[in-house]
Each structure stands twice: as structure tokens, then as C-alpha cells.
């Protein structure tokens, strides 16, 4: 079972905009490798006659009619926001993009 490399952890950290020190990269690579190894145990029980699935229920086409339902009020919508301004969610500076 291929594990997760230190390079992959560095790449994911970059995507997630997390700054990790060399020590942390070693530390997390080891931890994540162990976690993925544990989850990968599932593949031992999979079989050719068990098709891969993304959903436990044998359902398709669950749809709703195009009818408007009440939304939250802006106050309710923003009630869980750590910060707000001008009736909008306030987030820190978005880095590394133009």
C-alpha cells in the first residue's frame, strides 16, 4: 500500500495555505501515512463482485421541484460569522492571488 510522502504533504499544505516547518512536515507525513494505511484496510475486503460506490443507498434521481423556500435572514445567516462588515462575511486578506 503506497503511503503519503513528505513532498505530498508539502504540496497539500501549500494548497491549503498552511505554513509548515520542516519538523512539522516530517511529523505530519508520518501521522498521515499511518492514518491512510489504517483506512486502506478497507481495500483488503473489497472484491471484484463488489462495485465501488459513492453512496450506500441504491437510489438515483432524487430531485426537488424548482420552488422557492424561505431563506435565512441576513442576520441569521451572519450569526455564526466570526466577523462581519457591510452585511457580509469578513475574511482575512486572501493571499497569493491577484
Amino acid at each position: 500500500m503506497p503511503g503519503i510522502t513528505r513532498e505530498e504533504v508539502a504540496h497539500l499544505a501549500k494548497l491549503a495555505r498552511l505554513e509548515l516547518s520542516d519538523g512539522e512536515l516530517d511529523h505530519f507525513a508520518g501521522q498521515l501515512d499511518a492514518i491512510i494505511g489504517a483506512v486502506a484496510a478497507v481495500s483488503d475486503v473489497s472484491d471484484a463482485d463488489v462495485p465501488p460506490t459513492s453512496h450506500p443507498l441504491p437510489l438515483t434521481n432524487v430531485m426537488r421541484p424548482d420552488e422557492v423556500r424561505p431563506s435565512l435572514t441576513p442576520e441569521q445567516a451572519l450569526s455564526g460569522a466570526p466577523a462581519q462588515e457591510q452585511q457580509r462575511f469578513k475574511v482575512p486578506q486572501i493571499l497569493g492571488e491577484e
Binding site: M63, E67, V68, L72, A77, Q87
Partner: protein
């Protein structure tokens, strides 16, 4: 050294890929019942689902799926018998869920084509890779910086009213073989797609309102090369004219870099309306960086073949075929039809003809006076405060001789100003051709008496000179005389045969 467009085309073959996002005109969002009306009030159209709150479950909008299938069918695509949604993971606050619900390797529609007609009538086939369902993102406002852009901003403010609105992304296969006509093909493709979407009645597809947005991928290759060159991806090119200009400017830019011995890097670029050129954005994240995986909160979509066939049977006449039919019925050239299309006048003209006007008159008013007014006021032709029935009525008044063109223009102006129906404007402004023979006769006498030299010329046989006298009569009657009748009376008075 600057490379001209012609030089670039002499050395390279452009390869384009066009990605168009269409915002559907559904009443509700793709996965929740929030309205899509987009009131000005920020964050007034959100719910636990589109805010990505824990425990909320999305449910697919049936009309969203139906619209996607219709678009797929109109683009001659195969419709998947079974497909799923996928999570496109990324860290950016425009989606509160930290992922966008999209489709990945199982699009609802794939392998199609759209035939587009170029200005000279040539038909170019654009192959369609796929059309898939996804959702729009929220809107960010960057504050604290000088220009409202991310660069230099201290923080950003998010409005999620738009987050979750259904989008259909339509992706072409690489478009090759267009050569120097690549910019024209790109523009014609987006224009045709827009007409198609409108004809299907799944979206108003207004580019200026962001209901239809285009990303332009472009690369250059040496003629006969096996492999495409590295491409750039120009984002959010949001008018037909800009699509054409973006392709053109990227062709020149790529050629300049390549000729100078440089390499093109795969990156996102931004198009600037003012300069007509692009600037570098961010270096493109690879597809696998989004770590797509099947959306566990939604069950697969498996459109029955009966449903698909029913939708196919209900498809309208395709816009290109309809245009060709109308062009023949109206007896106009390909070029004239293109102008009518560009002006957004097909619908109004058809409706005016349906209301009783003849084709030439309907086209004349919509493409003349009304198009000019729409241009000046910056609204679409179909949104002017005048109905096709009213235009047909004006045409009828001209036809029966109650109005001439000049008066008819004044009547339309009155209607546009909200002065009432054409008949009410005619009445209120007193705009009727003077048919009163007495009043007209007096004006004719006056014109002859006031211009003895011209009158003599006409008497001596220079009948063309009568035009000046007709002009004097028209002036005296403030344009309300029947010019034809006035000419007859002048010639009669002067004793010459018309």
C-alpha cells in the same frame, strides 16, 4: 519586438479551447430552495445548505437537470445514462463549503458539436467535449486596497446570494484549423451558443450581466506539429467583442514569446477591456490539485431514455436554421441578417411581422430608429418601452398614408417617451399628413410664388427642380404634407406632365 497578427499566423497554427459558463434561469438554486432573484440585499438568499453549515443536505433542482439535458441535446451531445456530482475542493472563501459541487469525469452531456456560421456564410463545426452541471460562487468585495482588487486589500467581504445558483459549463474540444479566422470563430461560437441558450429558454444569457461568461484557452503550434503548444487561460471574457479581441491578442503575445526564444507558461490571464490585452494572473493549479471525489451527499442522476426523448422532441428550431429560414423569407443578405442578429432584433422583428407589419417595414424600424435609440440609452432592443404591436401600428399608419417616415419617427419617439400608444401620440402631437387639399393647395401656391426662378425651370422642362418646391411645401407644413400629392399638385399648377 512586436509580432503582428499576420506574422504570427504565418508561422503558427492557433488552437483554441472555449469554456462557457451559463447561469440557468431557474427560480431556485441548484441544491437548495433559495431564490435566485439576487436582491441587492447581501446574504439575504442563503440557507444552511448554500452556506455549507454542518448537517445540511443538498437536493438537486429538477429543472436544473432538465435544462442541462436540453442544452446537451441542442449541442448534439450524448446524454449520460448515469452520472454523479463531484466535489471540487479548494481553499478560497467564495465557496463557504470549501468545495464547489460540480461534475468531474461523469458529465451529464458529452461528445457533441455546434455548427456556427461566419459572417461570409461559411459554416464552421465546433466540437463539444462536454456540458456539465455545477454551481456558481459567492461574490467577494476586496476592501482596504486602493483599487478594490485583491492586491493590496486588507480583507475581503463575502456575499453568498449567488453561491449555489445553477451553472452549466460547456467545454469545447480543441478547435483547430480556424487559422487566421480563429478570433472570428471564437466570437461566432459564443454568439451562436448564446442564441441557442435563449431559444431553449433556459437562461437569458446576458453576457453584460454575467449570466454567460467565457474562458479562452489558447496555444500556438507550428504547422504540422504533432503536439499542441502550452496554453494560456484567459478568464472571464465577458462580451462577444472581447472574446474576439482576447483570442487575437493572445495569438500575437504567444508568437512574440515563442519567436523570442521564450516559453509559454501555463497560467491564468486577465483580459482588460480598455487595452484589449491580457495580463498574467496566477500559475495554473493542476486538475488533480482539486482532489475531486464523488459527492456523497447526492445520489446519482440517471435520466430515463423516455425523459431524454421527450425533451428532444420538445426542442425548438435551432437558431442558425431559423435565421436562414427567416433570411429567405425576408429576402435579405447574409450580411444584413448578421446585423439583425448582432442588434438582438430577430425576436422583435418576428413579433412585429406577426402583428401584421411587412418584413421590410418591421426590419426598417427596429434596425433604424429603434436600434439607434437602444444604443443611445444603453438598453437591449427588446427592452425598449415599445411593443412589436405598436411598431406594427406605426408601420400600418405609414402604409395607409396617414404618416410619412419623418412623422412616424416622431410617433415612435413619443411612444418611447411614454406618451401613449401610436394613435394617442398622433392625436396629442397632431401628427397627421395634411391631406386637406385646400391647405395643401395654399402651401403649393406659396411655394411657387416664393421661388419664381425654380418655378420657371420646372415650367421649362427641368422637372427634377420640382424637388426644391416640394421641400418648401414640406417645410411650410412642418413635414406633415403628403409629399407625393404635393409634387403632383406642383406639376399640375405649373402645367407640366409628371
Amino acid at each position: 519586438m512586436t509580432v503582428t497578427y499576420e506574422d504570427a499566423l504565418a508561422s503558427y497554427e492557433p488552437v483554441m479551447g472555449l469554456e462557457v459558463h451559463v447561469e440557468l434561469g431557474t427560480k431556485t438554486k441548484m441544491f437548495c430552495g433559495c431564490s435566485t432573484e439576487l436582491k441587492q440585499d447581501p446574504n439575504s438568499q442563503t440557507c444552511p445548505t448554500c452556506l455549507g453549515l454542518p448537517g445540511a443536505l443538498p437536493v438537486v433542482n429538477a429543472i436544473g437537470v432538465e435544462s442541462a439535458i436540453k442544452i446537451g441535446l441542442a449541442l448534439n451531445c450524448d446524454i449520460a445514462e448515469w452520472c454523479r456530482f463531484a466535489r471540487k475542493n479548494y481553499f478560497y472563501p467564495d465557496m463557504p463549503k470549501n468545495f464547489q459541487t460540480s461534475q468531474y469525469d461523469e458529465p451529464i452531456a458529452f461528445n457533441g458539436y455546434l455548427d456556427v456560421q461566419l459572417e461570409d456564410g461559411e459554416v464552421f463545426r465546433v466540437e463539444i467535449e462536454r456540458a456539465h452541471m455545477e454551481e456558481d460562487t459567492g461574490k467577494s468585495l476586496h476592501v482596504g486596497g486602493a483599487t478594490g482588487r485583491i492586491h493590496g486589500a486588507s480583507h475581503s467581504l463575502l456575499d453568498y446570494n449567488r453561491a449555489g445558483i445553477p451553472l452549466i459549463e460547456i467545454v469545447t474540444k480543441p478547435i483547430t484549423g480556424a487559422g487566421e479566422r480563429a478570433p472570428e470563430v471564437a466570437k461566432a461560437y459564443v454568439a451562436e451558443l448564446r442564441e441557442l441558450i435563449k431559444a431553449l429558454d433556459v437562461s437569458e444569457a446576458r453576457m453584460e450581466q454575467g449570466q454567460m461568461r467565457c474562458d479562452v484557452n489558447l496555444s500556438l503550434m507550428k504547422p504540422g506539429a504533432e503536439k499542441f503548444g502550452t496554453r494560456s487561460e484567459t478568464k472571464n471574457v465577458n462580451s462577444l467583442r472581447s472574446v474576439e479581441r482576447a483570442v487575437r491578442s493572445e495569438i500575437s503575445r504567444h508568437a512574440e514569446v515563442l519567436n523570442g526564444g521564450g516559453t509559454i507558461i501555463q497560467e491564468t490571464r486577465h483580459f482588460h477591456e480598455d487595452t484589449g490585452s491580457t495580463t498574467s494572473g496566477r500559475v495554473k493549479e493542476e486538475a488533480e490539485d482539486y482532489r475531486y471525489f464523488p459527492e456523497p451527499d447526492l445520489v446519482p442522476v440517471a435520466p430515463s431514455r423516455e425523459w431524454v426523448e421527450q425533451l428532444r422532441a420538445g426542442l425548438p428550431e435551432l437558431p442558425r436554421l431559423r435565421r436562414n429560414r427567416l433570411r429567405e423569407e425576408w429576402g435579405i443578405t447574409q450580411h444584413d441578417m448578421q446585423s439583425v442578429l448582432n442588434a438582438g432584433a430577430i425576436g422583435p422583428i418576428v413579433a412585429t411581422i406577426d402583428a401584421g407589419a411587412d418584413a421590410a417595414a418591421a426590419r426598417k424600424w427596429w434596425m433604424g430608429e429603434l436600434a439607434r435609440h437602444a444604443n443611445e440609452t444603453g438598453v437591449e432592443l427588446g427592452e425598449l418601452p415599445v411593443t412589436p404591436e405598436q411598431v406594427a401600428r406605426v408601420a400600418a399608419l405609414v402604409q395607409e398614408g396617414s404618416l410619412n417616415d419623418k412623422l412616424a419617427r416622431q410617433v415612435l419617439e413619443g411612444v418611447l417617451k411614454g406618451e401613449g400608444t401610436p394613435d394617442e401620440v398622433v392625436e396629442a402631437r397632431g401628427l397627421k399628413i395634411v391631406k386637406d387639399e385646400g391647405a395643401l393647395g395654399a402651401a403649393v401656391e406659396e411655394a411657387i410664388a416664393g421661388n419664381p426662378d425654380i418655378a420657371k425651370k420646372v415650367r421649362d422642362g427641368k422637372i427634377q427642380a420640382a424637388g426644391a418646391l416640394v421641400g418648401a411645401v414640406m417645410k411650410a407644413t412642418r413635414g406633415q404634407a403628403d409629399a407625393g400629392r404635393a409634387r403632383e399638385m406642383i406639376l399640375e399648377k405649373l402645367g407640366v406632365e409628371g
